[in-house]
């Protein structure tokens, strides 16, 4: 009885249907446990958490230098009354480093990437925590001030992609966007 102390011996192993279920459940847990290391070695999408500490001012300087030496154009936001009206478009060298800075409330700068090339994308924040959410692919990574979060990324589809912020960062959070163009 569930509400009364047990006065008779109650310790015995599972049997019958319970034993069958327990076996299935343990097997399933085992399968799920193996999927993650399997995907780590054989799958193509992993979050390895590669990161380095960086002062926000230093990250800002690296981003500005990256923009100055690789700028290829200007993006004008067609959405009326947007917080982000225009951004420099910057193209990193294939296989090279790209810097993307989150701040209240934009992702700076816009990036132009080539399909099939691999880039080291450095993400950091100048102020609060932000969420890097690449749409419509729906790939999401956390961005913290003080940490240079490095994603080794290979675009495999072309077009215009929007970076949305998905970590709350104040009143303009919903309008914090950025752009990645893949050719």
């Amino acid at each position: 009885m569930s509400l009364r102390p047990l006065t008779t011996p109650w310790f015995h192993g599972p049997a019958g249907h319970e034993k069958i279920w327990l076996g299935c459940a343990i097997l399933w847990c085992f399968v799920m446990s193996l999927m993650m290391p399997y995907w780590h070695f054989r799958g193509k999408q992993n979050s390895t958490g590669e990161a380095y500490t960086v002062k926000p001012a230093d990250f800002f300087a690296r981003t500005e230098k990256f923009v100055a030496s690789n700028r290829v154009g200007t993006f004008k936001n067609p959405i009326a009354n947007a917080l982000m009206t225009e951004l420099p478009i910057v193209e990193p060298p294939a296989g090279g480093d790209a810097y993307l800075m989150g701040r209240m409330w934009q992702w700076y700068p816009a990036l132009r990437l080539r399909k099939g090339e691999t880039y080291r994308l450095h993400l950091s924040s100048l102020d609060l925590q932000h969420g890097f959410s690449l749409q419509p692919l729906n790939m999401n990574f956390q961005v913290l001030p003080g940490y240079d979060h490095v994603l080794t990324l290979t675009p495999t589809s072309t077009g215009e992609f929007t970076i949305v912020c998905n970590e709350f960062c104040g009143a303009g959070h919903h309008a914090m966007t950025g752009k990645i163009f893949v050719e």
Binding site: L3, H17, C24, W28, E50, Y147, L151, C169, T177
Partner: protein, 567 residues
């Protein structure tokens, strides 16, 4: 007996014998069960009003609140629902679980007052400072976001107050054992509550470690704690506190399936081992929130997110079998033996405590459990982190699961502890269905919108220019489900409060029966105690559950494989 005063069966003991169950009820415990449960329901109502406002804002067509109030009310909603309602009600459950089932009185009224006083003061402080617009930081208050110091101080007070109540629980258990108030092993309901209490201690210690330096920082006394460190420790509080809820909810499942159907655990050893697995492995769950964070490596994530080979998930899968199996066995022993599922149709579906328990189990297991494990898989989190899929998951665990189970419990707690029969009993019979269906719609709306990339905690989805009609449609489902669920919640709160004032008094007699299945002629109690293959319906249901789980799990791996390669 060396200290007979601690036993409720001693002459002159400060308690009463329940007119319905014949169990002893300690007066001190009864008072604090009332105080904590009623406070909990008040915070539930506050959080529920906030929920309705939020649902009507995220329903993009309605878009009710202005931007600053949206984030303010969202902070208020999280705090009132996930912290205040749940903690107050859990303290009430702990006080019950350590007294009545053990025939024992509460250890100390003074400590219970201190606990309640601290929790209530802290709760009022937090709610005040949020509504005053000085703490628009969400429940998680991720640094460098900074709230007014009262916000952190209030949370610390609530946590210390809860710990004080948990101490009263442990002390009561100790005295009961020392004085021999009961013989044998404690019942499963008390055992489950004990597991919840142990996890609560570990959880609240994490809360102290993270909240105290944040409070001193907000006062300007110390430097800002590191944001990554804050996330790691905060989730030791934030995720584990939800596992306290899981434990308490499972204990309530065992309690209510026993009261409403006469079920008993089919194997006490396995059930108790499952609770021990929760205690040992649930603390790793903090990592679920750091799966796409900088600075934490793959090995750490894989080990921790799987709770060390999914041993805590295994525990939930055990309870998900043994609770319905206990119900099926009890029904078959009562003579409902037709086919595989004949017993299901004979269950007391009009008893709100039973329907609430059954809905809680199904919603928690099928929806909450499957989504939680999948989203908490290291790599799959890439396509889920901070999207609406995450609240889509936890609204079916903590709301459709825990809150609904606690509501179901109230349909017996109020008659048995407040000694009044429910008013409008016909409405009460519908309430769990309304709430359960509403919250399921909320979760579906959130999950599908989230899988289209719609972020959580966002006031608007038009400013980004990327979300199409389908995402808007699912937010509409969220909004309509929110209205339904809020209606269910409002009915629950009004019925509870109305009953306290206007319910018929039942002192000295049995409470009005909500309806339990009668034993059929010729049936034998305990006749299936040694038949280990009697739970045919449950094994079919659980294997169907496993099939759904596998389909959803691998479908998500497929979705992940379609996005850009990333390391």
């Amino acid at each position: 007996m060396s200290h007979p005063s601690h036993s409720l069966s001693a002459p002159g003991a400060p308690g009463r014998v329940c007119g319905t169950t014949g169990l002893s009820v300690c007066f001190a415990a009864q008072r604090f069960i009332k105080l904590n449960a009623v406070s909990g329901i008040v915070f539930l109502l506050l959080g529920g009003i906030a929920a309705l406002l939020l649902a009507l804002t995220r329903w993009q067509t309605v878009h009710l609140l202005p931007v600053d109030w949206f984030y303010r009310i969202l902070t208020f909603h999280g705090i009132n629902m996930l912290i205040l309602w749940i903690l107050f009600f859990e303290v009430a459950i702990l006080y019950f679980a350590c007294t009545t089932p053990l025939n024992c009185r509460l250890f100390s009224r003074k400590i219970a007052w201190a606990s309640f006083g601290m929790m209530l003061t802290g709760a009022v402080m937090v709610d005040y400072i949020i509504l005053a617009g000085r703490a628009d930081v969400m429940m998680t208050s991720y640094l460098p976001l900074l709230a007014h110091p009262l916000f952190y101080l209030g949370i610390i007070l609530v946590a210390v107050g809860t710990l004080t109540g948990v101490f009263n629980f442990f002390a009561t258990l100790y005295v009961a054992k020392r004085d021999g108030a009961y013989t044998g092993s404690m019942p499963i309901v008390t055992f489950g509550a004990l597991a919840a209490a142990i996890i609560a201690v570990v959880t609240l210690l994490h809360g102290a470690v993270v909240m105290i330096p944040t409070f001193t920082y907000s006062m300007g006394w110390t430097a800002q704690p590191d944001p990554a460190w804050y996330r790691l420790i905060w989730w030791g509080l934030g995720h584990q506190s939800q596992q306290v809820n899981v434990c308490a909810m499972v204990a309530v499942w065992y309690l209510l399936s026993h009261i409403t159907v006469g079920a008993r655990p089919i194997n006490e050893a396995v059930c108790r081992t499952a609770f021990v697995l929760y205690i040992l492995f649930i603390n790793l769950a903090s990592a679920h929130h750091l799966l796409v964070d900088p600075g934490v490596g793959a090995t750490w994530k894989i080990w921790n997110t799987s709770y060390a080979m999914y041993l805590a998930v295994l525990a939930s899968m055990i309870h998900g079998f043994t609770v319905p199996a206990g119900v099926e066995l009890a029904m078959r022993e009562k003579g409902y033996t037709n086919g595989i599922f004949g017993w299901v149709t004979a269950l007391p579906w009009r008893n709100p405590a039973f329907s609430g328990t059954a809905l809680s189990l199904v919603i928690f297991g099928f929806l909450g459990g499957i989504t939680g494990v999948t989203l908490g898989t290291q790599q799959i989190n890439i396509i889920a982190h901070n999207t609406l899929r995450i609240p889509g998951h936890f609204h079916v665990t903590v709301v459709g699961g825990t809150t609904l189970a606690f509501m179901a419990l109230a349909y017996y707690v109020i008659p048995l502890i407040f000694q009044r029969d429910f008013i409008f009993r016909g409405v009460a019979r519908v309430q769990p269905w309304l709430f359960g269906i509403g919250i399921t719609m909320v979760a579906f709306g959130m999950s599908f919108a989230g899988s289209m990339g719609v972020p959580r905690r966002s006031w608007d989805i038009d400013a980004q220019g990327v979300y199409g009609p389908a995402a808007h449609l699912w937010l509409g489902v969220l909004g309509m489900g929110g209205i339904l669920a809020f209606t269910g919640l409002l009915i629950f709160a009004l019925l509870c409060v109305g009953t306290l004032f206007f319910g018929a008094k039942i002192e000295g007699r049995a409470m009005a029966d909500w309806g339990t299945p009668p034993a059929l002629a010729g049936s034998q109690p305990g006749s299936l105690a040694h038949d280990h293959y009697a739970t045919k319906g449950t094994i079919v249901l659980t294997l169907a559950f496993l099939a759904c789980f596998a389909v959803y799990y691998f479908a998500n791996w497929k979705a992940l494989a379609d996005v850009w390669p990333v390391r």
